[in-house]
């Protein structure tokens, strides 16, 4: 079956979720793009948006409409050509409206699983619940005569385990988008030993057509992204414990976050990133990875303590940050949660002592946003890291230790056959996590 035939009927499971909505939108854009090809003019593309809540599906359509308008506005030059034979569409506005309508008309919001029984392709983007994933995929597989292909968005569960449990006979592959899928350029792609080659051919075309890039990863729990992130969180926690010998808990968390953001010139500190991902999600990923990691202890008491106090982080529906390890006001960290006192302590009350201890930034320091945009980024980072290395201040020293650990994690990911090569780990960190530089670099 050709690519476009396969694409004729697709279901996205968990379509109203953070990841599912993006995957749904991108797939809809690809369907409309296919429809513009003259040979596909009479081909019907159907995209089932499956989720459990009608309310969430209604909101989903609003999101998709907004995304479609934005896309059409940005790509108006090409869309005018695509709609050239439509004499009734003259103004940009008419074309943009038509595009949004065409894109929405591919989508069928549904709450019943039976719709997926006729699909050729299933994108699975439900929560990281291994049993639920297996149950849904297995049910669809048993009831679907098309021998559907399953593309799972899991960022943690080994694909071969899902294949075996759901008895998919190699018709599954990991296609892991980064959050939010509509914006993030990178995907991680995971084949098992049994994955049928035609799935990876399709995925390569699909990713290229939606304008993304991918890195391959071995089928090891957590893959490259979470393989790195979870270890980073665990290292950060270890550092917090060490600093607590001389400082309070909130001060230690504040300092480790500052080291991992500012001194390392990253877009956000490690604990802010945990809040962004969701503390519950971090714990869940660790718990999913743990059974597959015999030599490492994938468990974070710090994360557990927050969840015990029902502190979860994550985002509000409008995309703003919920309180987690930190309290946020207009996206800025204002306080740190103290599990001992069961309340947030304002950063302003203790930050001065921490900042004095860490010391000023070495010469050449610039915030991530500024340096990452600079065309001379490489040179600027080189100079900064030279000065970081020469500095004897505790902040610089801790940052150097952190960077060494950062590189060690990357090295282990290759050594332990999670990543195929260093470049892939760098690509995940640069394109997936938006770091200004990868862990394997010439700066230090």
């Amino acid at each position: 079956m050709k690519y476009e035939e396969k694409l004729e009927n697709v279901t996205v499971l968990g379509a109203a979720g953070k990841m599912g909505s993006g995957i749904l939108y991108l797939t809809a854009t690809e369907m409309v793009r296919q429809k513009f090809i003259p040979a596909n003019k009479n081909r019907e593309f159907v995209l089932y948006a499956m989720d459990t809540s009608h309310k969430a599906l209604t909101d989903l359509l609003t999101y998709i409409r907004e995304q479609a308008w934005k896309f059409a506005e940005k790509n108006i030059v090409n869309l005018r050509k695509a709609y050239q034979d439509r004499e009734d569409l003259i103004d940009n506005e008419q074309i943009i409206r038509q595009y949004a309508q065409d894109l929405l008309s591919t989508i069928r919001p549904v709450t019943r699983i039976e719709s997926a029984f006729e699909s050729n392709i299933i994108f699975e983007a439900i929560s990281e619940n291994p049993d639920l994933k297996v149950e849904l995929m297995s049910t669809i597989n048993k009831n679907n005569r098309n021998k559907p292909w399953f593309f799972t968005n899991t960022s943690a569960i080994p694909i071969s385990w899902l294949d075996e449990q759901a008895q998919l006979n190699g018709r599954i592959m990991g296609v892991h988008f980064y959050n939010p899928p509509a914006v993030q350029k990178l995907l991680e792609v995971v084949k098992t030993e049994n994955t049928r080659p035609e799935l990876s051919y399709f995925v390569a075309d699909y990713i290229k057509n939606i304008g993304k890039i991918f890195v391959p990863a071995y089928d090891v729990a957590g893959f490259i992204g979470n393989g790195y992130l979870m270890r980073d969180v665990l290292y950060a926690e270890k550092l917090v414990n060490k600093l607590q010998q001389d400082f309070s808990y909130v001060q230690s968390v504040y300092m480790v976050n500052k080291i991992s953001q500012d001194f390392l010139i990253r877009p956000m500190g490690i604990f802010q990133l945990a809040d962004y991902v969701g503390i519950d999600v971090v714990q869940f990923i660790m718990s999913v990875m743990k059974p597959h990691m015999s030599k490492e202890n994938f468990h974070s008491p710090l994360i557990d303590q927050h969840l015990h106090d029902i502190i979860k982080g994550g985002q509000h529906p409008d995309g703003s940050q919920k309180d987690g390890i930190f309290k946020y006001e207009k996206g800025q960290i204002t306080a740190v949660y103290d599990p001992g006192k069961k309340r947030y302590l304002p950063v302003s009350e203790f930050s001065q002592e921490c900042d004095e201890y860490l010391g000023e930034f070495p010469e050449g320091w610039q915030p991530w946003k500024k340096i990452n945009r600079n065309p001379e980024k490489g040179e600027l980072l080189k100079k900064y890291f030279e000065n970081l290395r020469l500095s004897k201040k505790p902040g610089a020293q801790l940052a150097l230790d952190y960077i060494k650990k950062f590189r060690e994690i990357a090295s282990d990911l290759v050594k332990n056959k999670v990543a195929f090569k260093f470049d892939d780990v760098n690509a995940v960190l640069i394109y997936g996590f938006h770091h200004a530089y990868g862990p394997v670099n010439d700066y230090l």
Binding site: E73, K74, I76, V77, N78, L79, R80, E87, I90, D91, N92, E93, I96
Partner: protein
Amino acid sequence: MVAGYNTISMGTGRSEFHPKKSRPDLEDYIKEAGENVLIQIGGAQNVDECVIANFIASRYNKQANLAAFFPYIDPGLTNKPCVRVEGACATGGLGLATGIKSVLAETADVVLVVGVEVQNSVKAVYGADILSAAGWYKERKDGHAHFFPGKFSDRAGAYFNAYGREKTRQAMARWYYNAIENARLCPTAQEFENQQKKLEELALTEPNPRMFVDHLNVYDCSKVSDGASAIAIVSDEGLKRCGISKNDAIEVVGLGQAEYDLTRAPEDPVRLTTTEVAVKKALDMAGITREQLATVECHDCFTIAAIMAIEAMGFAKPGEGSDFILAGHTSREGKIPFNTTGGLIGWGHPTGATGVHQAVTIWEQLTEKAGNSQVKIPADKPYAMTVNMGGDDKTLVSLVYKKC
């Protein structure tokens, strides 16, 4: 002409501008510009007639019947004869021409002319639809998404083929550099706060046909602007009535208008033939040669339009407009300084206001009121010229002014 006034040219580049925050509306700009002229001419009671120049508020702002905003500027203008004129980007020039003719016809001794446009009410992609009304609507379907950049990109492509790309692109970049340098001297200019260091390098960015047009980059184009400009056109009698000294006024000595068939393609894609006609008419009426001009405001909606305008005015032969710019002749220290407050690219292009803004700039220069933008006006060259173009060289208004 006397008592010119410009509001800020608002849009991207101005620190006050934020697309999601509220901004002044059409009537706010009209009022600000109109009031400030009235203050200079002694009040509304001195005005006989009013002209408002606006291209297309009916679509940008869902507002028509703009002449009725004059009494909103000042109740003293209630029941005065008022009219609104339109001629795409030459609207401001037409507003001036209308006022001049009233004075010449002796129906008025003092005419208040306000030019205005508020375009940031919609995103640029929809603004392109609105602005395409300056062309023939039946060409819209086959036109580029960015309709007018598309038209002038085609002209640029033809010009590159005829006279070479590299030098032309360098001249376009130099034009951009001069425009921004001049705008940095004028506090109301949209690019006043532009701090880019490598302007010419930036302007040499390769065009990206996938996202924009084939032969122009964004630096080759004037921006989307909101703003108003106003000025009073007065007779000798009017000048006395307003109590203004002749030294504070400039004399209109030449008016050239020309029109080309909207449904026809340009006669020659590498020439602005209608501009040629209008400029000639204006100079003939003034009875001077271009060599007697101290400064010029030309319609640089696109950098390539500036090169072609220089040739249409006769400052350079066909194909040599680029050399004229690259030799530095159009810079503020050059032989004939062009667009001394930045022109459409540097100051901004609130469409209906542009022609009036050009006149205000010339009034400021010839009366030595241009502040940091002031260029030298040699005693033997007391003249200046404006060229205001509507559409793709379709509606043209050229004026020649003299220091009083």
